[in-house]
Symmetry: C2
Subunit: 250 residues, 2 copies
Amino acid sequence: MASDSQRPKTPSTPRAAQPTAAAATPRKQLMENEVLEHATRLFAERGFSGTSLQDIATSMGLKRPALYYYFKSKDELLDRLIVEGVNGPAHELAAIAKRSDLGPAERLHAITRQNVKWVLTHTDLFLLLVKSESELSPASAKKFNAGRRDAADMVAAVIEEGVAAGELRPVNTRVAALSVFGISNWTAWWFQPGGDSIDSVADQVADMALASLQQSDLAERQAMSPRRAIAALRQDLDRLEQTLGQDRSS
Amino acid sequence: MASDSQRPKTPSTPRAAQPTAAAATPRKQLMENEVLEHATRLFAERGFSGTSLQDIATSMGLKRPALYYYFKSKDELLDRLIVEGVNGPAHELAAIAKRSDLGPAERLHAITRQNVKWVLTHTDLFLLLVKSESELSPASAKKFNAGRRDAADMVAAVIEEGVAAGELRPVNTRVAALSVFGISNWTAWWFQPGGDSIDSVADQVADMALASLQQSDLAERQAMSPRRAIAALRQDLDRLEQTLGQDRSS
DNA sequence: CCTACCGATCGGTAGG
DNA sequence: CCTACCGATCGGTAGG
């Protein structure tokens, strides 16, 4: 076997610092990730069809055929990215939806917040997904659509629960859920790294999403039991007392 | 001058049924629009780079070079569509923003409603704009960005006014305005012609957009004058009376 | 609005 | 990971 001067020799004892099988081919894995990152950025900017493998190779200082050492085809490259984009946010959102320590309104807020944060920390991948949806392989398109549907169903279920609990307004849950995704996802098009932080934007957008569906005090009072109406009156009196307390002459 | 057998002769009296100069070349104009429509649909589906002139020609039953009888280049075709997409909704939105018969909250609702209706009646053109932004000529990109900025500024100004009037919550007006566009624009990705009507969806989304920024009764009461606090108390009493009236035994 | 043609570039492969 | 090459397709033009 000819020695490869480019590749540093690994220690002769195979068990040294290799906890997983994935670490067996570190060099190739590293380059693979490098290709994926460059491809994500370029596909997001110019679209899948608008980006040639030549573009990707040039951006990495490689010749185009070198990419075939890591990927079978341009389509496989895209499919790899799609899987990443579909599976990435799903688990975190599902985990929030299941939390029993939060009411439905609180979960809706947390989900929106998390969704915005994911979009803004994976903007290239997100824009790539949205722009290249029509160019996916049939298998990837199926996964992509299933992931989108599951996410919408999950949010719709939380909203449904919130409506039943009287925390949210009675609405078309499908329209409401998709609108929550709309307000979240659109951040990808306008967020500027120089201005508000990702956390700040996520908070503001989550506040708006929750407020857009929250039961107003007025509507709540209109459907109120006598006992709760009296409690509300007491609150109003407290508030009035406070207001007058600030200006005793009135 | 050689006569053109393809073009039907116009009546010798030039004032007959020709109100505008645009009607002078009806045949070519008609075909031009036909090309634009097919191009819009295909560009929206597969993107600008993902659609060849061959695709467009085939979809119209023409050979590819025939398209050059109507357009100088593929880029000119795109630019023509961009202008349509940028100028289309701008006037209507600006008109609503200026209406003095409506309060700022009402104007925000009307603007959102109109925006959703435009997106859902021009979905192909809208998706084309969003997907092909990076492939625009420098001149078109400039117009496109200016149009987007103007629209956001206009909505931000209405929101600012609503905050000053106490109708809307104090928020970052830029984030709020862009979020209103987010909830509106995203309808392009999920609206299904079979379900709720465009008007119904536009109403629901506008309700959510307004609610997302509307001053809650609670916050309003907290900043209330004694006179208004007493009025609110009276309303609460009315409501309590009504509730008890439905069940005199309690 | 067509046929015939152009150079450039595309994704992908052979062979090392 | 490179050089050299493949057929296919791209946008655009000549000439009618």
